[in-house]
């Protein structure tokens, strides 16, 4: 634990244990999403599916990056990850992004993907709202992740026919916002 780091957050009036719990739940969501997206990506095949596979893969890798970026903050603040993977899955901040009953239904897969991203966007907005001006490092982390989750939502939203988002696919490295926490 980073003692003074925790003290500073407490002194700002935040309930640090609540922040840790939020971070653990969102780390759980990221890692489980990484797992479920692996299955979704594998099923994105055929004329419709192949066009979406690349962004699903980018979102998958970036969600894993988010997990990697969140974990140090949990321990800095004096928290820890659950001992067992099953417990970690079950405390996830978002529902499982499970493969639809008909795995050939690409639109159904897209809806799972966009709902997962929307849950993440709401979750990190919530963390940003709580930590803004009080827990600068958690805020910076949550905001960086939020930036990427918003882009993920935009990509999938366009494919669902919800209109243009103004975003492009990644060019070059993944995690342009969160990358600074991974170095």
């Amino acid at each position: 634990m980073a003692k003074v780091t925790r003290e500073m957050v407490e002194k700002a009036g935040l309930n640090v244990d609540e922040i840790i719990e939020l971070l653990v739940k969102n780390a759980g969501a990221e890692l489980t999403t990484y797992y479920y997206y692996t299955i979704l990506r594998a099923n994105l095949i055929g004329l419709q599916g192949e066009g979406i596979k690349e962004i699903a893969e980018t979102a998958r890798i970036e969600d894993r990056n988010h997990f990697e970026a969140i974990v140090p903050r949990i321990y800095e603040l004096g928290g820890k990850l659950p001992e067992h993977m099953k417990d970690f899955h079950d405390v996830s901040a978002c529902p499982p992004a499970a493969l639809p009953k008909d795995p050939t239904d690409v639109m159904a897969i897209l809806k799972v993907l966009v709902e997962a991203e929307r849950c993440a966007v709401r979750g990190y907005t919530h963390i940003c709202n709580i930590t803004a001006g009080k827990d600068h490092r958690t805020y910076d982390l949550a905001l960086s992740i939020l930036n990427e989750e918003i882009e993920h939502e935009s990509w999938f939203s366009e494919f669902l026919g919800e209109g243009p988002s103004g975003h492009f696919l990644r060019r070059g490295e993944t995690s342009p916002f969160v990358g600074k926490f991974l170095k």
Binding site: V91, C94, P95, R122, G123, H126
Partner: protein
């Protein structure tokens, strides 16, 4: 429609197998079966058994999310 006092609503806190009810704008919703309300807590900071009308104003979603759940009663004024 059944009317709940604030005390009766508090009994439905979603813990230890109890139902999870939340109030908003006078209506009471049953969120027991929601993945996002496990153990009567939502996003760590919101608790079942309470009137969330004011909290919802600051939430990153609107009341449309709550309206997906069954209405089980009204909150007594």
């Amino acid at each position: 429609m059944k009317e709940f006092t604030k005390e009766e609503l508090k009994e439905h806190d979603g813990r230890e197998g109890r139902k999870a009810y939340v109030a908003c704008d006078g209506f009471i919703y049953d969120v027991t079966d929601s993945f996002l309300w496990k153990d009567g807590k939502h996003q760590v900071t919101h608790h079942a058994g309470e009137d969330l009308t004011n909290e919802l104003d600051e939430a990153p979603h609107g009341i449309d999310f709550l309206k997906r759940f069954p209405v089980v009663g009204r909150l007594k004024k």
